[in-house]
Amino acid sequence: MKLSILSGGLQSSVQDRGRFGSRKFGVTAGGALDSAALRLCQLLVGNDESAAGIEIGGGRFTFRCENERLLAWQGGNVVATIAGEEIPARRTIRLIPNETVEIRASRPGRAWLALSGGIDVDVVLGSRSTDLAGGFGGANGRFLRDGDVLKLGTETIATKELRGQITQRQSDWSAPLFPLRKERLRVVPGKDWTDEAGSEMQRATFRVSVQSDRMGLRLEGHALSVGTGAGEQVSAPVAPGTVQVPPHGAPIILLADCQTIGGYPQIAHLASVDLADAAQLQPQDEVRLFCVALEDARGWLRKRERDIALFRSGLRARFGY
């Protein structure tokens, strides 16, 4: 039942879909920066979509499972290999006991992986996600390190059915691909949007700063000179994807580990589906922001949810679980 981490890579952590219900205590919702990617990986290995997996921040992540497991992974600019043999993303992969899996970013990029049974760390405040600010959840509230050993949970019936259908290394089925748009992020107006500030924001080309992390992407390269009509304000709730404009004018795109409330003007919010794109952005990447209608953003979310639901029910129908 053990998962041994040989090298922890950069900023890797145990994450699930997020910690909901505790924002009112100042606890961030957190969870995988691309929760759709992790959900699909969980379905590929026969887990519930709310199971915990691992988010790999970059670098070289290698591990070994002591028994037979199913694996699925997804990410950008990432190559996964077992004994030098490349294993594809978005498919169900059979692991034999004790073989070493390596997931390596060819250039900095994030990836998510799921293992059958799920990562079995304690549930804290309803979730297995790692809360770095609070120092709890996941693997003791911190990034994974070389030498960490994690427990894997009990496999489901779905896992056993899926395994039975794979004769060699990988499945013939695959999860849907949601193509990334990366440098062109779509936003809807926020409460402090003004047409002037919004125009300036859309004309600008930003670069991701090295000061970026799971809490947010700091954008540099252009400081918004046109105020949103408000200086620092009474703090109000924010969400992952909220685009804040601090006094110095360089926007911040909040991500999963963002704080629960914020006092900076909120000029816009990323379309939820574009959080997956934001999750792949690395320091020095260029970013442009484009305003779209709220109904379009919700429509893309609807399509994505429908595709995930179809994939889920497709697997069930095909394999009878």
Binding site: R23, K24, F25, G26, F136, A239, E295, L301
Partner: protein, 229 residues
């Protein structure tokens, strides 16, 4: 009360209005938040109150429903729920006394100079003040406390400290606060409490909640030492 989108997967309820005192608005916000939570509206994952606003976070299903179907229904449900004004089932307001030790270096001397008051006067004014919890946010269990005497209003630090000790009692602008855990912080720290403000094993995990009344009680360095786990 205005309802507007907070991105495509959440709503913002805005209770701010001209002519009302901050305390009145806060009461309304907290009552509404507690009522909404108790109501368990389909599709609402959680409800987060702030000073004048409430964030209502939706699940992906609900957020992605065609707007003609979902938004009007949701708004109607939210407004109807709030009108009910059910008595809070969340928790009753508490009076809490927080022990604080002022015998640490930190920012007391600097604040005293800034306010043109001796340090002991700063402490005296802080200890006699009656605070109300306005909001829990920024960090797990971090309370924004209203009621800081006017004479103690100083701006936050020019550059935040990368590391404020756990239990740091601080203030900036209109609010006082307590950092439950080690974190970066830009407020002026005048003391420390051994009191735990956040415990994931407790229910609820945060010691304080909006509308709780808070006062501070002075303790010695020795008492601070023995009270800390």
């Amino acid at each position: 009360m205005k309802i507007s989108p907070l991105g495509d997967a959440a709503l913002l309820l805005d209770f701010s209005r001209e002519g009302s005192r901050a305390e009145e608005i806060l009461q309304e916000v907290i009552c509404a938040a507690q009522t909404l939570e108790a109501e368990r509206i389909q599709g609402v994952v959680e409800v987060t109150p702030a000073f004048q606003t409430i964030g209502v976070y939706l699940d992906e299903q609900t957020a992605s429903l065609p707007p003609e179907k979902s938004l009007p229904l949701l708004e109607t449900a939210i407004r109807a729920a709030i009108r009910k004004r059910r008595s809070p089932t969340w928790r009753r307001r508490r009076r809490v006394e927080i022990p604080v030790c002022f015998d640490f270096e930190l920012d007391l001397a600097r604040v005293a100079e800034r306010c043109a008051l001796p340090p002991e006067k700063i402490i005296e004014k802080f200890l006699t003040a009656k605070f109300t919890v306005a909001c829990i946010g920024f960090r797990p269990g971090f309370p924004y406390l209203r009621g800081l005497p006017k004479e103690l209003r100083v701006p936050r630090l020019d550059s935040p400290r990368p590391r404020v000790p756990a239990g740091a009692v601080a203030f900036a602008g209109e609010h006082a606060g307590i950092y439950p855990l080690v974190s970066p912080g830009g407020w002026n720290v005048i003391g420390r409490t051994p009191q735990r403000l956040f415990d994931v094993t407790a229910d609820p995990p945060a010691l304080l909640a909006p509308l709780d009344q808070v006062r501070f009680r002075r303790i010695t360095r020795e008492e601070f030492g023995t009270q800390r786990e």
